[in-house]
């Protein structure tokens, strides 16, 4: 099987002196990046522990982040992206669950590394490519081995494993889990190749393109940016953290040609009146994914990027970045939207989709049901978790032995095969594009509030996308909200921490005796007006 870095390797041979990466004020050529990655790969292989297919990378919008990912893949390993934006407790859990015993750390994440190593019992090899002296770390956390900039520089050879086994993992991403613990989605090189090859076949991208890199590395939209750009010999522009919020100037200043983000970005730019017609004349491709794309947003972006093809992509992490697409047409598309939301379109050629009911029976066209996915992009299941894998990767009633991933998304398909997203069939929500299980938030809230009577709702929801979460508790009159929120912050990433925790005499129930989440949303709406 061809390694995911195969495209980069070819591009580095064809375009050694062309820019491959602009990040943190630095520009690196393909040659520069290949040398850095090759040294890291060589060091990883020299210092690896047996039976360890994964290496963690704790780096944020820095050269080390990208050289590290390339180096890990070049060593024939899979990468586990960790982010300093998550609480140390959650990151530590991810490290333990992944079984990594090597971690590459960027200079910008040293404070976070100390928090992570606090209480970490298993010996690690910590690679610090930008650090010359680790006296403090060695003193405070002596059980670990530290390899510094000198070790990386002196690392002999430049390894690039061009082939890997069919089932080799390219990356392991953790998503929100319903039991209060994140779950790992293992994505293979084979899954990634299927995605990259398909996107290359239908998009005319080349070495003159300038790709955005907007998403965090822990979000799989970043995989599209990084590997599609390097497959084509293009340059990847990593947005600085503050430009992520208002990227208009960055797009213009760097004349980006390919954009990929969640639709929430359009909401922010619109509110700040930054999406005027022809704002982004350089854009050739604009992709949106991760949450519903409202009709008005697609129109606004199309007007801002007059020359750009605008596409709405859809796909869960388990199906590798995206698995269906809808190309916006300024004349016809407004009439094809349902509930003012852009269709999620057609399944990628070679991939499969079915809409079925809760008994796993396939439904006729035009009938709404749960979307099931299969094909070369669909992953094999959750990392070391056969229970969760068995629950989500299933066989459909009348089909062959194909294993289908049940998305939990309520979808309808019209006679042409075009699919429309209608909502969720469970308690999963998207908060500014990030996937979150309300059950996971509630599992933490129960501990934080000392009561089982907790419920969380996505709030506020603007243009079909949630900005955050609000919680309600009952049975705990003397709740210290600040203390409870502080507890939540220890275990949950920022976007999953409730904005407020309200105390009620009793939680409202619906006719079935279940907590009436709709009633709580109406309560919040009432308080707003």
């Amino acid at each position: 099987m061809r390694n995911t870095v195969g495209g980069f390797l070819k591009s580095s041979e064809r375009f050694a002196s062309r820019s491959a990466l602009v990040v943190d004020g630095e520009t690196l050529t393909y040659g520069d990046l290949r040398r850095k990655a090759g040294r890291l790969a060589s060091l990883l292989l020299r210092t690896e522990a047996p039976n360890s297919p994964l290496v963690a990378i704790l780096a944020y919008r820095s050269v080390t982040a990208y050289a590290g990912i390339l180096g890990i893949l070049a060593a024939g390993k899979g990468y586990v992206p960790l982010t300093p934006k998550f609480p140390a407790e959650r990151t530590r859990r991810m490290m333990i669950l992944s079984g990594c015993n090597q971690v590459i750390v960027g200079n910008e994440c040293i404070p976070h590394l100390s928090e992570l190593l606090e209480g970490f019992q298993q010996p690690l090899t910590v690679i610090l490519p930008e650090i010359a002296d680790a006296t403090d770390l060695r003193r405070d956390f002596p059980i670990h081995r530290y390899l510094l900039s000198k070790d990386v520089q002196e690392s002999k050879g430049s390894v690039f494993e061009t082939t890997v086994s069919t089932q080799a993992i390219a990356y392991l991403l953790f998503t929100s889990g319903t039991t209060g613990e994140p779950k790992g989605v293992a994505v293979t090189h084979s899954n990634v190749r299927a995605y990259i090859d398909y996107m290359c076949s239908r998009c005319d991208l080349n070495e003159a393109d300038r790709f955005s890199q907007h998403s965090d590395l822990s979000f799989d939209l970043s995989v599209h940016d990084i590997f599609l750009a390097w497959e084509r010999g293009a340059c990847l522009y990593c947005l600085p953290e503050r430009a992520v919020l208002l990227p208009a100037k960055f797009i213009r200043d760097n004349a980006l040609t390919a954009w990929f983000s969640v639709p929430s970005v359009i909401s922010v730019l619109t509110k700040m009146k930054l999406l005027e017609p022809d704002t982004f004349p350089s854009l050739r491709y604009s992709f949106f994914c991760g949450e519903p794309l409202p009709t008005s947003y697609a129109q606004l972006w199309q007007n801002a990027g007059t020359h750009s093809i605008v596409e709405n992509l859809y796909g869960p992490t388990e199906a590798t970045i995206a698995i269906s697409h809808y190309r916006w047409d300024r004349n016809h598309s407004p009439g094809e939207c349902l509930n003012d939301i852009c269709p999620i379109g057609w399944t990628f050629a070679g991939q499969r989709s079915s809409i079925a009911n809760q008994e796993f029976n396939i439904l006729p066209r035009n009938q709404a049901g749960e979307l099931f996915l299969a094909g070369s992009q669909v992953t094999g299941g959750y990392w070391n978790d056969p229970g969760k894998t068995g629950a989500k990767f299933v066989r459909l009633g009348s089909s062959d032995d194909t294993v289908w991933y049940r998305t939990g998304d309520l979808v309808k398909q019209d006679w042409s095969g075009c699919m429309y997203y209608l909502g969720r069939i469970d308690d999963q929500v998207k908060i500014r594009g990030y996937r979150a299980e309300l059950q996971e938030i509630e599992a933490i809230l129960r501990k934080a509030c000392g009561t089982d009577q907790v419920v969380s709702v996505a709030w506020p929801v603007r243009d079909g996308s949630a900005d955050g979460v609000v919680a309600f508790v009952s049975g705990q009159k003397a709740l210290d909200e600040g203390k409870a929120l502080k507890y939540c912050r220890t275990y949950l990433p920022g976007y999953m921490v409730p904005q407020r925790i309200y105390t009620l005499e009793a939680l409202p129930l619906n006719l079935n005796g279940k907590v009436d989440r709709g009633g709580l949303v109406r309560l919040l709406e009432g308080a707003r007006t």
Binding site: K85, P240, E241, R242, A243, V244, L245, L246, A248, K249, F250, R252, S264, V265, S267, V268, K271, M272, K273, L274, R432, D467, E481, G482, A484, L485, K486, C488, R489, G494, Y495, V497, I501
Partner: protein, 93 residues
Amino acid sequence: MNRTQEDALIASVLNWIREHKLPGNHHGAEITEDIDLITDGLLDSMGLVDLLLFVEEQTGRPIDLKTVEPKDICVVKNLCRIALGNEISQSAA
């Protein structure tokens, strides 16, 4: 630049953050005019939008985000200076 005007705007922005956007584990006293609202995790993208709209409402003038570097508006002191600088330069013109 009118220093009193700038101080007053900084004070009202800090109050707004304490009242509207302070996460549960932050103490109001920790918020200063020099803190980076984004890297220190006080505001997310929508929070920043709300803050910018508040500042525009206070000054009565839009902030020209087409030319301003995002990093310059993430620190309260700089944001207030930019917001008032726009007003002064525009009225002078």
